[in-house]
């Protein structure tokens, strides 16, 4: 069939020439038809494509490129066609261009050199009149932009951000992020405009801007703290969940840097958690609340409530049948766990359930949680459950994960939670039975660590290890798939080092000598040989110079050790030989009767203490030692992981050798009898592959049964003994008991045995119960097994829970030895390991760590506001970008303090918004000046820079002024607002330097309404913000505003005539929210008072809904029609002399309480005037109305009694006189 197809195509091709090229469709079909020789077919196709690319016809080329894009997806390198792709991109047809750009976006990258040719073409496309051409160009560019393109096209992309089409604007905004990544220099000049986009009327553009800023801020959060107020407002006003999620995530990153922000966030986030139905949003809210709670160390009043809320919601998520929610719930839970373990522990049951989940990811998450939840009380239980899980778990990965988790849980904080180390050692021994585990060395390290740190356990450990050694042969099997043989390393060492605790050293020695040690890895062999000598030494000591037996022993050892000389491992062989020779010389000495035991035991003298992890590097360097100088060969990296290892390297190497004539099995039962014979072993191990729970339970039942039946089973008596013991003193059962437990077991047939760990577990439970009973009557007398050995270091006792006295205190040597005079300090060694993106050598975000607060100077397309309104104390612009740049960083902290100290004064300007330029002057003004408090000084976006030479002087002065205000007054910052608890939605609108003052407009028993008016930046509209405060304990919603239009104003965005409804806004009990209404203004001459009716519903708890209305007059004074506008002095002079300003008005006021410059300052703030020029006692000011009428003022300070004369000029007579009247009242 396929051949016919080919033939057809071929025929067609021949007859029609190039017209008959394969389309993409044909190519795909062809590939599908050549499943067996796909590569060949594709290579042919590529040859054809190469031919097609040589054609002049653009359609053919485009088709060829389209096919290449497809082949690229299949893994074919198409970089050779880059130039052709560019040709297609440059086509003036949309269809082809799109194909070209797609191919480019899939195959081009930073390294593609021909990209350099494209700059102008892309520029043309970006600026294309067709919105879609610009769109595809931006999509493509986002994929292959490089530093050169980013630099060359930055301006074009910037200007696209002001496009009239949201489709283009939002793409440009997103693309800008890529520009920043490739050209960090672009960030600073572009940032103001990017920030403007946060307030873009189109929600899509707004979302894009949020997206980009969040990406930027995520990597360098501290540079974006100043934007918190804007985001805060967006968060409380936006209804777009995508945007909300981004913002909330961003806040999660910001709160650690500014705890006060966190405090502000709690309330609105809690509201969102209660109200949202979107799980994604709910989840992110919880996450951020957690982040906040983590960052706030000192408690909030409702701190606990928030945690409880989170935990409860998470529990709902975890209980949900949707696995995704379950997974995320666990993920978030683990974050809470770090700071509030108690709250999570309450849900212990739930987490345990998740261990049974069929989804491995969920099980692993649950495991993570478990380790944080254990306490002394439940450790044994948890570990036991995990063991059960492990036995039935499928997949070695998960089983290994469980194993390491068990060890993690038990060993955390230097065994903080372990009350019974016998139990722990037997757990470890049990773990060695796990088939195919990769954690042999982990278990081994644990055994060593426990034995070294916990002196009281050594005897028990020795017995257990001896058993392991006796069964060492089972570890040879299967050593390929796992490294469980590693435990022998620990076993051999423990038995050797603590040989005095061995029950039957002779037997242990023999079993060590009889094992085919040479089959083990070299380091295990070495440890074996070394410790064989240790045991021999011990035996000799105990033999009391009974020379015949000693001789017998040594010659036997020599016999067997000689086999080990053939070890394949260099070091092992060396050790074997050293030890062999030592033994030989001992033998010689013995024959001469000159042997002294001390010579031998001297080899192993000394006390062993754990060494702290950092001890090595803390050793002071002796004078004259140059560590950097080569001594011999380059030193190899030393491995510090084992704290114990160093010891036997310190000691001399000794050993002996034996021959293996002893085939007898010395093993006489214990929990390890599964290993007692090869036969049973192989059966057993199979058993352990995958026994189901039922099987295990069954076995357990059987065991229990046989325990009862078996007269030799001594468990009960042991228990009784230990009970008696605890009555005497609440200690661990002593050695005698312990050895009885083990020895008694020798008589029990293997399959009847209860696992030792389980046995100990039960016993511990009973002990615990007993202690609990005794607790009241008796004070805990502490451990009977107090270590005789004290280490120099911290020896903490396990003190933790309230129930502590229920548990025996076991001495655990914590920490480790350090060189003298050195204390353990923080993680100084970690300081250098800063997390660096692993995959990237170069992290572009580092380059983007730009302090945006620094003054954006000439580069900025907008002039620094400072120049235009120098008197306006730029310091006061709360969170503006401009603001911080002027302050030394250290100041921030001081200011914060100041803020908190001035918190009282804050209540006075309670209505202030983030937009407000908080200044001390404002404070005064607001408290002192009551009447036109509706006054809002706002500065519309400053027009292009007009800095001229004449300004130079005043500017300098101004900076001085600034500084002084800085110092004298506690300039309130944005976070001032944060801590102002009435203000959740405040905003800073930096670039406009706006200032919102909220004035009480009306109130009822249920609701308070405050208003603030600012002109919108570009159109002849007023933005009236209502701050609604719910005074009830019910939810208020269905807010509806009715305003009767006047001749000169018209309500906009109405839902019905003169009505604006806010169905989505609801006010939670005692919370507040903002609503905006807009008025179109067509005449500004007179002040207006608009009759306004606000209707709302109160959802009472009794399910009834009460509707209420508030009527009030909305005051729109003339001063609100002004919009900040600056003018350079030349233009101002021109305007004044042109005679266009026909209306004039003069007043003089004598009773001004303020000095002149601060008065001007206040006036500028309040009436949105900007200073044009300032000469000593005279200042000229300028502004425009929202309809574009110019207004000019000349303020003069007449020396008599602080008098001021004001001279106003405008084109609008009525407006001017009304405004003058207002100013007059204001100053008075």
């Amino acid at each position: 069939m396929s051949t016919t197809m080919d033939q057809v195509v071929k025929k067609a091709k021949d007859s029609f020439g190039p017209m008959f090229d394969k389309s993409l469709h044909d190519l795909v079909r062809g590939i599908r038809n050549h499943k067996d020789n796909e590569a060949k077919y594709i290579n042919e196709a590529i040859d054809e494509i190469k031919q097609e690319l040589k054609q002049d016809n653009m359609a053919i080329k485009a088709n060829a490129v389209n096919k290449l894009t497809y082949l690229q997806m299949l893994g074919y390198d198409i970089s050779w066609s880059s130039f052709n792709i560019i040709e297609v991109m440059s086509s003036n047809k949309f269809t082809f261009k799109r194909i070209g750009y797609l191919a480019a976006s899939q195959s081009f990258h930073e390294g593609t050199d021909v990209v350099m040719l494209t700059t102008n073409m892309i520029r043309k496309d970006l600026n294309s009149s067709s919105m879609y051409e610009a769109g595809i160009a931006m999509s493509g560019l986002s994929c292959f932009i490089n530093a050169d393109l980013a630099r060359d096209l930055a301006n074009d992309i910037m200007s696209l951000m002001t496009s009239t089409k949201p489709y283009i604007r939002k793409r440009a905004v997103l693309l800008l992020y890529k520009v920043f990544l490739n050209n960090p220099d672009a960030l600073k000049p572009a940032f103001p405009r990017l920030r403007e986009k946060l307030e873009d009327p189109d929600p899509g553009v707004q979302a894009a801007a949020v997206n980009v800023i969040c990406e930027l801020a995520r990597r360098n959060p501290k540079n974006y703290l100043a934007l918190a107020p804007i985001f805060f407002r967006l968060m409380t006003t936006s209804a777009n969940n995508w945007v909300l999620i981004k913002i909330i995530k961003l806040f999660g990153a910001l709160t650690p840097l500014e705890p006060r922000l966190g405090r502000k966030l709690i309330e609105p986030l809690t509201n969102l958690i209660h109200s949202t139905s979107a799980m994604s949003l709910l989840y992110e809210c919880i996450n951020t609340v957690i982040a906040v709670l983590v960052s706030i160390s000192s408690g909030l009043p409702n701190h606990n409530a928030s945690i409880q809320l989170c935990v409860q919601k998470l529990r709902i998520l975890i209980e949900d049948s949707d696995q995704n929610l379950k997974y995320l719930g666990l993920l978030a839970m683990s974050k809470i766990l770090q700071t509030h373990p108690k709250s999570v522990q309450a849900h212990h049951d739930l987490i345990m359930q998740c261990l049974d989940d069929k989804d491995e990811s969920i099980r692993l998450r649950a495991l993570d949680l478990l380790s944080g939840m254990v306490s002394k009380k439940n450790l044994m239980e948890v570990a036991r459950k995990l063991m059960v899980h492990m036995n039935k778990a499928e997949g070695t990965h998960y089983r290994d994960e469980l194993l390491s988790k068990i060890i993690d849980i038990c060993s955390q904080n230097d065994y903080q939670h372990i009350t019974n180390f016998e139990w722990y050692v037997s757990i470890l021994v049990e773990l060695t039975r796990l088939e195919g585990t990769k954690h042999g060395s982990l278990i081994s390290l644990q055994l060593l660590d426990v034995a070294v740190r916990v002196e009281s356990i050594r005897e028990f450990a020795c017995h257990q290890m001896a058993v392991l050694l006796e069964n060492a042969h089972v570890f040879i099997v299967g050593s390929n798939s796992s490294n469980i043989a590693e435990v022998l390393y620990a076993a051999a060492w423990i038995c050797g080092e603590f040989s005095s605790y061995l029950k039957d050293p002779q037997k242990t020695l023999e079993s060590m000598l009889n094992t085919k040690i040479t089959l083990f890895p070299g380091h295990i062999q070495s440890v074996y040989y070394q410790n064989i000598l240790k045991i021999i030494t011990y035996i000799i000591i105990t033999l009391n110079n009974n020379e015949t037996i000693i001789k017998e022993l040594i010659s036997m050892s020599i016999d067997k050790m000689s086999v080990f000389l053939s070890s394949g491992d260099v070091e092992a062989q060396e050790r074997a030989s050293v030890i062999l020779n030592i033994l030989k010389s001992v033998l010689k000495l013995l024959e001469k009767h000159e042997f002294n035991v001390n010579e031998l035991s001297g080899l192993f003298d000394g006390v062993l203490n754990p060494v702290a992890a950092k001890a090595q590097r803390k050793v002071a360097i002796p004078n004259g030692l140059d560590l950097d100088a080569w001594i011999n060969d380059p030193p190899s990296e030393s491995d510090e992981e084992s704290e114990i290892k160093p010891r036997h390297f310190d000691n001399t190497h000794n050993q002996s050798l034996f021959s293996g004539d002893n085939t007898e099995n010395y093993y006489h039962g214990s929990n390890l009898d599964s290993y007692s014979g090869d036969q049973s072993d192989s059966n057993r191990t199979k058993n352990y592959v995958e026994p189901s729970t039922e099987e295990i339970e069954e076995q357990r039942e059987k065991r229990k049964q046989s325990e009862k039946m078996n007269p030799f089973y001594i468990k009960d008596s042991t228990k009784i003994k230990s009970l008696q013991k605890t009555e005497v003193s609440s200690t661990l059962p002593n050695n005698a008991d312990r050895s009885q437990v083990t020895s008694s077991k020798g008589t029990i047939p293997a399959n009847l045995q209860l696992s030792l760990a389980d046995q100990l577990y039960r016993q511990a439970k009973i002990d615990e119960e007993n202690r609990r009973l005794k607790k009241k009557s008796k004070s805990d007398s502490g451990s009977s097994k107090k270590g005789k050995k004290t280490s120099k270091n911290s020896e903490l006792t396990t003190v933790d829970d309230n129930d502590d006295d229920l548990y025996p205190t076991i001495k655990v040597t914590r920490g480790g030895e350090l060189p003298e005079g050195v204390t353990e300090s923080g993680n100084e060694d970690n300081e250098n390991d800063q997390p660096v993106g692993k995959n990237k050598k170069y992290d572009p975000h580092r380059a983007l760590n730009i302090d945006l607060d620094e003054k954006p100077l000439q580069k900025m397309s907008t002039p620094p506001t400072e120049i235009q309104e120098p008197i306006a104390k730029p310091v006061e612009n709360p969170p503006t970008i401009m603001e911080k740049q002027k302050k030394p960083k250290k100041k921030k902290a001081i200011e914060k303090e100041e803020k908190s100290s001035t918190s009282k004064s804050k209540s006075k300007r309670e209505r202030s918004d983030y937009k407000e330029l908080l200044s001390p002057a404002d404070d005064e003004k607001e408290s002192v000046v009551p009447s036109p408090s509706n006054t809002t000084a706002a500065a519309p976006p400053p027009p292009p820079p007009t800095t001229t030479t004449t300004e130079a002087k005043p500017k300098k002065k101004k900076t001085k002024e600034k500084k002084s205000t800085n110092n004298d007054n506690s300039a309130p910052l944005l976070f001032d607002m944060m801590s102002d608890d009435i203000n959740p939605t405040s905003t800073s609108n930096q670039q406009y330097n706006e200032q919102n003052v909220y004035k009480l407009a009306a109130e009822s028993d249920y609701l308070t309404i405050e208003t603030s008016i600012i002109p919108t930046p570009s159109t002849a509209q007023l933005d009236v913000t209502f701050l609604l405060k719910n005074r009830t304990s019910s939810i208020i919603d269905h807010i509806d505003i009715h305003v009767i239009d006047s001749l000169s104003s018209k309500l906009l965005n109405t839902t019905s005539a003169n009505h604006v409804s806010f169905p989505s806004i609801s006010l939670f009990p005692y919370s507040q929210n903002y609503i905006h209404i807009y008025f179109a203004i067509n005449d500004i001459s007179f002040q207006q008072k608009l009759k306004t009716t606000l209707t709302y519903s109160i959802n009472k708890s009794s399910n009834e809904i009460q509707t209420d209305t508030i009527e009030f007059k909305l005051d729109l004074p003339c001063s609100q029609y002004l919009r900040k506008k600056s003018l350079d002095p030349d233009a101002f002079a021109e305007l004044m002399s042109s005679g266009t300003l026909t209306s004039q008005s003069n007043i003089s006021i004598s009773s001004s309480s303020q000095d002149f410059s601060s008065l001007i300052n206040t006036i500028c703030q309040t009436y949105r005037l900007t200073v044009v020029d300032k000469i000593n006692s005279a200042t000229s000011l300028y502004s425009e109305t929202i309809l574009g009428h110019p207004i000019a003022f000349l303020f003069k300070s007449t020396n008599s009694q602080n008098g001021i004369s004001i001279n106003g000029k405008s084109t609008e007579t009525h407006f001017l006189s009304n405004l003058m009247e207002e100013i007059k009242n204001f100053i008075k």
């Binding site: 979302a207 990406e215 995508w242 999620i245 981004k246 995530k249 994604s280 989840y283 995704n324």
Partner: protein
């Protein structure tokens, strides 16, 4: 940020590959295979998130996927994206495909991978989410298709004739239709 968007079928055949970060073609294929290994062994009804593989990923990256009939849709994203949000996005993507192709099935993706890319371009730009409103995406995509058609109208004379001629190869067509993946309409 989205690092990559992969669509492949039940037998690891790529149907769409979109990397927002450059990887050589060879690595891209390895990533697809590795991701397939990770994803395909998971049961239905387990959670849709997993840690990224060794090739694509790192601590901060996760794979978020959905499995529709024969196709896996996988987004590799970093921690700045909301997991549930991305799941929704995948849903939007697939529903958009369904609208644009009218009952989308794997064959549509096989033969029109370019169109799928164009749809994706309306949704994401440079690894960031651009648009989540399905109607908007569909409208924009349709408008651009219209634009293409207009252009084709002028010059497509010979091309049309050509395709018409090829369509005559009917037996082949029928064979293609019989391919097993025909009945694989995406479920919703």
């Amino acid at each position: 940020m989205i690092k990559a968007i992969l669509v492949f079928n039940n037998s690891a055949k790529p149907r769409l590959i979109k990397f927002f970060e450059h990887y050589p073609e060879e690595i891209q294929q390895q990533i697809v295979r590795e991701t397939y290994q990770l994803v395909s062994k998971r049961d239905e009804n387990v959670c849709n998130f997993l840690e990224g593989g060794t090739l694509i990923g790192g601590n901060d990256y996760r794979l978020i996927y959905r499995h529709y009939a024969t196709l896996y849709f996988i987004f590799c994203v970093d921690s700045s994206e909301s997991e549930l949000g991305i799941l929704d996005l995948i849903q939007v993507f697939v529903e958009t495909l369904d609208k644009c192709f009218e009952n989308v099935c794997e064959l549509d993706l096989i033969f029109h991978v370019d169109k799928v890319h164009y749809i994706l371009q309306e949704m994401c730009l440079g690894g960031m989410v651009l648009e989540t409103n399905m109607n908007e995406i569909v409208a924009r995509f349709d408008e651009q298709s219209k634009l293409e058609k207009q252009e084709a109208g002028i010059t497509a004379g010979p091309t049309k004739a050509m395709t018409a001629l090829k369509e005559m190869n009917l037996p082949q067509k029928i064979k293609d239709m019989k391919l097993s993946d025909l009945n694989l309409n995406i479920r919703f």
